[in-house]
Amino acid sequence: MTNHWVDIKNADLIIIMGGNAAEAHPCGFKWVTEAKAHRGAKLVVVDPRFNRSAAVSDYYAPIRPGTDIAFLGGVINYLLSNNKIHEEYVKHYTNAPYLVREDFSFNDGLFSGYDAEKRKYNRDTWDYALGKDGYVEIDETLQNPRCVYQLMKQHYARYTPETVSRVCGTPKEAFLKVAEMIGETSRPDKVMTILYALGWTQHTTGSQNIRTMAMIQLLLGNIGRVGGGVNALRGHSNVQGITDMNLVSGVMPGYLRMAADEEQDFQGFLSKRALKPLRPNQMSYWQNFPKFWVSLAKTFYGKAATKENDFSYHWFPKYDKPYDVLQMFERMHNGQMNGFICQGFNPLAAVPCLQKVSAALSKLKYLVVIDPLSTETAEFWRDHGELNSVDASKIQTEVFRLPANCFAEETGSYTNSGRVLQWHWSAADGPGDAKGDVEIIAGIFTRMRDMYRKEGGAFPEPILNLTWPYSIPDQPSPEELAREFSGKALADVTDPKDPTKVLAKAGEQLASFAHLRDDGSTSSGNWLYCGSWSQAGNLMARRETSDPSGLGFYPNWGFSWPANRRVLYNRANCDVSGKPWDPSRKTIAWDGSKWTGFDVPDMRPDAAPEEDVGPFIMHPDGVGHLFALKGMADGPFPEHYEPFETPLGVNPMHPKNPLVTSNPVSRLFAYDKAQLGKADKFPYVATTYRLTEHYHYWTKNVRINSILQPSQFIEMNEELAKEKGIAHGDTVKVTSNRGYIRAVAVVTKRLRPLDIDGKKVHTIGIPIHWGFIGVAKKGFLANRLTPFVGDATAHTPEFKAFLVNIEKV
């Protein structure tokens, strides 16, 4: 979230699209209710299903799964055509006036630089036109045909209300009503927030779904605003924290991108990431990348990381391609992996195409599962009849199942969706011999290290030199680890403006990432978390409930990254002169000599408004990007592409270009391409979703939740049910080209047939919570149905739109 949970109460309009907060985030959704009750805010829900968020909304519009970009592209067109934009914000805080290279183009669904064979773009032309001074050329009148504003206007002119209705199935009046409500918040004194979740990410156009809304929020001047922003309602309680720790492919903690193979030179690696400003006076904060990286390297390798060895640069692995979860299981399926560790992760249920995942796990030599609960993954080799039909005697994988403590039995911090780190304490020991996750990882590592010490082996240096400063090596404490990621001074750190002033003495915890250095005199395991455990102590454990602004910031509750800032980009809450757009929602303001107020300024404290320092300080140009430059794999402007399993067979935006029916750059492996189904055999759209009584595949192990929702079901509309002779409560079989599930049919009015380009399209809803382990009634893992293909940029699987058939059994 750019903002945070309580801040939702400050919104005038709340859009829920690509999520269902009332059921999936009930206690966060309370702030929507608060905004409606006490601020007079309106709630709009756009979703394929009339869900419980829709049930309490002021307006609901249906949409076909996988067509969000068409809908939102239509909103952009509406805003630009009806002059419903926040003009001053757009001119000064976005790249609307910036000129784009002459050779950038868009033709029939493809941007310039497409290589059909590789299914990839050469992104060179997706760039600004630079002047002789090295800065971007701009046209403040927004009239130049090569400026971002004009290119954007031209791109989205095709997304007329009629087209939106034809692609999305949303009635034209419903679309226009939503667009009009959104457009009202272009006024400086009106703010809209957007709440989304997996309904946007789990598409092959997932990243661009979110980007389209980010563009809308920029056009409306709603980012950086109290009550505004772009707010991802995330999944697990610490999914934000583990994302920040970057336990993902190719990135180190604090979003520090790791080296590619060709980056053999350390200085070149650093300078490529230390982006230079593209406009005068901009902060371009990634210029500090070397400080963050070197401090991280010192955390890892301590005294062994020296200036002379480029701070152990080559001890960090280099990447030739992304190794995300889909790539992993593809390689495992091809027999290219031998060992695998699942820590609190149940891929047999959570990764698409169960059949492929099961075959892949069967090819491993060893599998290690660390979990508080019994999981399907740990028992993938056991025959459970129709629910998991395998022959254990033929599966040669050795499996270790290690019992972990659960949340109530451990001490440590979680980072919530609003970026607030909160400390929790252990209340009891785990059952039996269960151990904490930290102790389990330490147990494996220290034994490996001992073996490398005694026997030697392949490239032992990083293993033998990894810092391990824990008083009990087999049991590092959460306090030690928290101090480690926050960071400390290894030598005295002085103020660059006044070297006599010592900011932190050697050995002291650092107060802020502003004190990190690139000379090896500081360490910090994650620069974004720097200061969370300062000399003042553990700020994550703070529990002060005062709220001086009355806006719900709670500045002394926990620690909000970065720098305890509660709303990101908060400079944009003020106009160019430094006054809040809306005085009743003041965060920070320019007081004549500095930025000050209720929140930590997201701006150099002494940057006078006349200096024109842009509010988007991480960008080299200081502004929000309506044109994404080279950041996205599939284009600088979002474009509608059909799901990989489309009920239409063509992209209605580009019916004559089969290259762009679906995302032209999504990675599609040969095995999975052959598994895709077509509408002739699988005529119905399916979408997966979650119930308020269940949490993924955990709560089927929990008695009360299993009583509340005991049995697997699917949801379908009345018209289709009648057509197929299915009554409420009948058992049905739902089949995709990859497999089938059987479940009880729930026939409802919540789903409705949509008219798409003259064709009737039905959507079937598939809750995901059952499996063959647990105390709930056994059921089929829903990923027997889902396709193994992901978003072009993020590789998130397309769980939200695929094709099935349905029959009564």
């Binding site: 985030h25 610490n238 695998f340 508080p372 979680y414 009891a428 011999d433 709560t699």
Partner: protein
């Protein structure tokens, strides 16, 4: 007149006239059933965070047991933390059922091992588990570590092992997991954030 507490209430309920029984001296004898003692009276309270969605509601976890060596604390009740600015003491149907998660019959209690081709688990010690896993990993890493790619560039990666890290684990677990996987050269790392 001897009346039990229950009979006394029955008599009282029978009519308005009986309400004067107390005044006439017909008070009930000693109560045989008492109001149950408040169950949290002797419990210790621990502040925690819900492990499910990322609203990350504040919790109060109540345990009984004196924390002496031979008296393990058992968690008996979990409710929302009224101080938490986000959930203000409330919980959803998932969070309200957390006690049953803590005590689920699906909780794992001991390290176990399933041999190749076997149809059952066997219980092993932690030391055995750690040592065997470490041996597997080292043998695989030593055999398959890639120091240089085809072009002769230094890449130092280990491609035949992978790890899925938990988004339900703490930041502290995240820190140690990051040190663990990256120092070994593992590049196949991912978490639930991807899906």
């Amino acid at each position: 007149m001897q009346v039990t507490r229950r009979q006394f209430f029955k008599i009282c309920a029978a009519g308005v006239g009986s309400s004067s029984l107390v005044a006439l001296g017909f008070a009930p004898g000693e109560a045989l059933a008492e109001v149950r003692e408040f169950k949290l009276a002797r419990a210790s309270e621990t502040r925690s965070t819900c492990p499910y969605c990322s609203v990350a509601c504040g919790l109060l976890v109540y345990g009984v047991g004196d924390k002496a060596k031979n008296a393990k604390t058992s968690i008996i009740h979990i409710e929302g933390d009224p101080d938490n600015p986000v959930n203000r003491g409330t919980l959803c149907p998932k969070g309200a059922g957390l006690l049953d998660f803590v005590h689920s019959e699906s909780r794992l209690r001991f390290p176990e091992y399933r041999a190749a081709g076997s149809n059952e688990w066997q219980r092993i010690s932690w030391d055995d588990a750690f040592t065997r896993i470490a041996k597997h990993m080292k043998a695989d890493r030593d055999a398959n570590f890639v120091a240089k790619n085809d072009k002769g560039e230094t890449v130092n990666r280990w491609l035949t092992a992978g790890m899925l890290a938990s988004s339900a684990a703490s930041n502290e677990t995240g820190m140690i997991s990051a040190k663990f996987v990256r120092s070994l050269g593992i590049v196949s790392v991912d978490t639930q954030a991807r899906i």
